[in-house]
């Protein structure tokens, strides 16, 4: 099955705004671009290709003519498709994009997914939290050490400090930053070997 370019007329973008007031601060974030197809013959739309220019999210609505007597209705094909994962940075800002029709056997007119797969969110999930009781016992040991050192009032730097054969502590001690609840203020880095 060969694919051909469909002639279309792309109108200029129109800003959606509330009210008539046009101020420089109140720049609209939503623009609408109308695309019309001058050819009368029906066709199956397979792919839409365009080059982005700083659009973050895209929605596509199609006006469908089903038959002669029912009025045409608007169908949302794509809603808030993410083109720029971070709209305040340049990622995806000027990329070439293709949107494809998903295979839909029953319908003749292209039926697009109205809720497409959202763009990937960077997953910053921490895999596997440590065992809480283990953490608390280690924290206890560190706290005890803190108390010991505070009691001895030294501002000397501690290099590597062997606590037990399981711990190796690296630390920079700033005594003036000791507070009663002590622990969080220390820049202790515990290295478990």
């Amino acid at each position: 099955m060969s694919r051909v370019l469909v002639p279309c007329h792309v109108k200029g973008s129109v800003a959606l705004q509330v009210g008539d007031v046009r101020t420089s601060q109140g720049r609209p974030g939503v623009l609408v671009i109308d695309v019309t197809f001058p050819s009368v013959a029906p066709f199956e739309l397979q792919e839409i290709t365009f080059k982005n220019y700083y659009t973050a999210f895209l929605s596509i609505r199609v006006r469908q003519y089903t038959s002669a007597h029912t009025p045409a209705k608007w169908v949302t094909c794509l809603r808030d498709y993410c083109l720029m994962p971070d709209p305040h940075s340049e990622e995806g800002a000027q990329e070439y994009v293709s949107l494809f029709k998903y295979q839909s056997p029953s319908v003749t007119f292209p039926k697009w997914l109205s809720h497409p797969v959202p763009c990937e969110q960077p997953a910053l999930l921490r895999e596997g939290l440590p065992d809480p009781s283990r953490v608390s016992s280690e924290v206890q040991q560190m706290w005890a050490l803190t108390e010991m050192i505070r009691a001895s009032h030294t501002s000397a730097r501690i290099g590597r400090f062997d606590v037990s054969n399981r711990f190796l502590l690296l630390g920079l001690l700033c005594p003036e930053q000791i507070r009663p609840d002590g622990l969080l203020y220390f820049r202790w880095m515990a290295v478990m070997t």
């Binding site: 290709t49 305040h88 940075s89 800002a93 990329e95 994009v97 910053l124 690296l170 880095m189």
Partner: protein, 528 residues
């Protein structure tokens, strides 16, 4: 799903296309033919038997390494509608900025040419050729008059261009607002923040052993070093590029470094490679380029004055002069935002058949360029191998440090990453330096452009470059630059001018710092 599958087949097709033209392909073919003699290869199961043979004999590994190399170097195929410029650099305003910068460089080169009445290229008379061949190994003893030559540009000129980069679609305004960047770089590129850096550079976490830190004399070698060396030897025995790249993230033992880098960069000195280098050498002998004088000047000004590198002066000429003539470097311009300067044979302006690239490799050296080669001289002593390693390092990494692009490892992103890290974690220092007119980037820019070569002691530098290879990214340069500032934060808070900040020993003498010290501090970032 369909999209992903078609992307994958496109990538595969691209790689196959590339490898078909390579040496490896013809070698594999020869090996396949030769293997037909072997008794274990049966006609009924020819394909499987040959595949098995490749696996056992190590040829499959070589192929894997070649594929891995292609994946690391070449960007993913872009959208079919995207023109070639888009692959070089997707953002139009950056392409334009790079274009103007190149025009400026060329203008400077051409005016130097006219002023000094020296041709861009000339054929050497036979006598001169003989002379050069005789002193090929000691070109450093030559003292040509280079006083009239000046470097085409220096890093600080390039910094000014980057400072003036603006996205026309980004509303910045002249007045300071919450949207203005406080640093020098004003373009809103996406840079990683600390959680993302932590995730990316997970092997640099404090709970994982590092060479350069955990192999110091206070730490008993049984704890980390011995095991790490043993694994390194195993990786080399396996000859697996991907494994080597993973291994080197924790640093490379000095004895294994040269081989590991060659494995990661997929460089094996074949007779063809040595022959290619000899061919380049012949080109140097036969023709003299104006760019050669620039190289001489640069080496004399930088590497020759450096305590660590002056001994390698001759090697530097042998590598850089050949590099200028190597047209195979031109292929990297497909994904470099820069373009090679094009000139036309006299009288044939505009006719593509008479277009030539100048210099033949398309790269005009700037002040400090030779410092990219100098540290490699510690690892490789055979000129053709040294040459290959440098060339590969250049087309993978170094070119990004002196061209304007939006790539995450490009110099613009590195500058922005540096400034963002500093502002986020040392806001007081950043503000203070800004107030006294010593924007931190003005100090750290030259470190990053040179990948710290000449600024860090060589053993520390090589450990840093280990990580660049391991992560296939230059972001570590920005993190290190920020870490240096953090390390000297207390001293820097006391300075009152840019000159003082630069002059004072604590930043000038980076060479006395060890990564050990810096990483303990830059380890602080991991804690925040």
């Amino acid at each position: 799903m369909l999209q992903e599958e078609s992307d994958l087949s496109l990538i595969i097709a691209q790689i196959v296309q590339k490898l078909k033209g390579s040496n490896l392909y013809s070698q594999l073919e020869r090996q396949a033919w030769a293997s037909l003699q072997r008794p274990e290869i049966k006609l009924e199961s020819l394909k499987e038997d040959i595949k098995e043979f490749f696996k056992i004999s190590g040829w499959e590994k070589k192929l894997q390494n070649a594929v891995y190399s292609e994946l690391s170097v070449f960007p993913l195929p872009s959208h079919p509608a995207a023109p070639p410029e888009h692959l070089k650099e997707p953002l139009v305003y950056m392409r334009k900025a790079q274009g103007s910068w190149e025009k400026r460089i060329l203008k400077s080169l051409n005016s130097m040419c006219t002023e000094l009445s020296i041709p861009l290229a000339r054929k050497r008379p036979v006598g001169e050729q003989k002379e050069l061949l005789n002193k090929w190994n000691e070109m450093g003893t030559d003292e040509p008059d280079l006083s009239l030559f000046r470097p085409v540009y220096a890093p600080k000129d390039f910094l000014e261009v980057l400072i003036n980069l603006r996205n026309p679609n980004y509303e910045n305004g002249d007045s300071l607002s919450f949207r203005t960047h406080l640093g020098l770089i004003q373009v809103p590129l996406k840079v990683k923040d600390i959680p993302e850096l932590k995730e990316c550079f997970v092997e640099l976490g404090l709970n994982i052993g590092q060479l350069g830190i955990d192999d110091s004399t206070q730490v008993p070698p049984e704890l980390f070093e011995n095991e790490h060396v043993r694994i390194g030897q195993k990786v080399l025995a396996q000859q697996d590029s991907a494994a080597a790249q993973q291994y080197i993230r924790q640093g490379s033992p000095t004895a294994l470094r040269a081989e590991l880098w060659a494995l990661i960069l997929n460089i094996s000195s074949q007779p063809e490679d040595v022959l290619y280098y000899e061919q380049l050498k012949t080109n140097v002998i036969q023709h003299d380029l104006l760019v050669d004088s620039l190289i001489y000047k640069d080496v004399k000004l930088t590497a020759s004055n450096d305590d660590y590198y002056f001994v390698f002066e001759d090697y530097l000429y042998q590598v850089l002069l050949c590099f200028s003539r190597d047209t195979s470097v031109l292929s990297h311009f497909a994904f470099n935002s820069a373009s090679p300067p094009k000139s036309y044979i006299r009288g044939k302006l505009g006719l593509e058949e008479y277009a030539v690239f100048y210099p033949p490799n398309g790269v005009i050296p700037f002040h400090g360029f030779s410092m990219y080669v100098a540290p490699l001289c510690f690892l490789y002593h055979e000129p053709s191998k040294l040459y290959q390693i440098f060339r590969e390092m250049y087309v993978r990494f170094f070119f990004r440090l002196h061209s304007i692009s939006s790539h995450p490892s490009g110099i613009v992103s590195l500058c922005l990453l540096f400034e963002t890290l500093l502002q986020t974690y040392l806001p007081q220092l950043f503000y203070h330096l800004r107030e006294i007119g010593a924007q931190p980037l003005r100090i750290s820019f030259k470190w990053m452009v040179r990948a710290f070569s000449g600024y860090l002691a060589t053993d520390q530098l090589l450990l840093l470059w280990d990580r660049i290879l391991g992560y296939n990214s230059l972001e570590i340069l920005a993190v290190l630059a920020a870490a240096v500032f953090a390390f000297r934060a207390v001293n820097l808070m006391e300075v009152t001018s840019l000159a003082a900040a630069e002059k004072k020993n604590h930043l000038r003498e980076l060479k006395s710092m060890s990564l050990d010290d810096i990483v303990k501090i830059h380890g602080l970032f991991w804690l925040f």
